[in-house]
């Protein structure tokens, strides 16, 4: 049960993120929701590579009896964090611009395209 806890947490984070994206009426909160989803996915990836009692994957030839955690998911997570940074920065920039144009952050009032 304990070993599945990380997956449940990841799932919970993703669902919370999706909830925020769909139901929150504030652009900043929507961006936070996307960030939550990203964190959930990152946690999921790291949890995939975790091995009970594993050590850091830093040996070229590991000594016998030592199990290492998988390095690949960690590399994937790092890449995904980097991309997440760019995504968040871009979304915040767009939110600032939208606020400048519409003077509101409520997505239901930002309806320039729905003429």
């Amino acid at each position: 049960m304990n070993s599945y806890l990380a997956y449940f947490t990841a799932l919970l984070l993703i669902i919370m993120g999706i909830y925020a994206v769909i139901f929150k009426r504030n652009l900043i909160k929507i961006v936070i929701g996307v960030s939550l989803m990203e964190s959930g996915v990152n946690l999921f990836l790291v949890a995939l590579g975790y091995r009970q009692g594993g050590i850091a994957p830093i040996y070229t030839m590991a000594p016998r009896g030592h199990q290492m955690v998988l390095p690949t998911p960690q590399a994937l997570t790092l890449t995904s964090i980097v991309i997440g940074l760019a995504t968040t920065a871009l979304m915040l920039t767009l939110s600032i611009l939208l606020y400048k144009h519409y003077k509101t952050l409520d997505p239901t009032k930002i309806r320039g395209l729905m003429k």
């Binding site: 040996y59 070229t60 030839m61 000594p63 790092l78 920065a89 920039t93 600032i96």
Partner: protein
Amino acid sequence: MKSDMSTIVKTVTDFLFGFIIIFGIYIIIHGHLTPGGGFQGGAVVASGFALLFVAFARTFLDKKPQQLYGLFESVGLLIFISLAFLGIYRTFFYNFLANSGGLFGMKITQGINPGYFNTAGVVPLMNMAVGFEVACGLSLIVYLLYRGVIEEGEDGE
């Protein structure tokens, strides 16, 4: 809002800024040996700059550093992709310095060892290029967002 913060913040920033930058550079150049690397170290350096912007808003927001940041960012990116191109006589991204005996060319010791700095070929060089790029790019992002928000505040008032 476009003013400096209190003396306490400014003094602490004065004191910490150097250490933050040094720590970031340490992470960048040891990227091939320890956890970390270009992006993480660059982010640490950029956080130092972010601290500077917040503490000394009046001084820095008028300096308009985007020219310098942009230039260094593009230099870092160009170095990175040029290093990848240099290996094209074998394949793109070929590590032509590894195990060659020269710069970063020491052969990697098998088994348990303390980690030798002069190894891994082009990887540390690429780490440095990426670190440079991320430090400048991230500082640029922080600077522009901060300035955008402050200008918005001034418009509203």
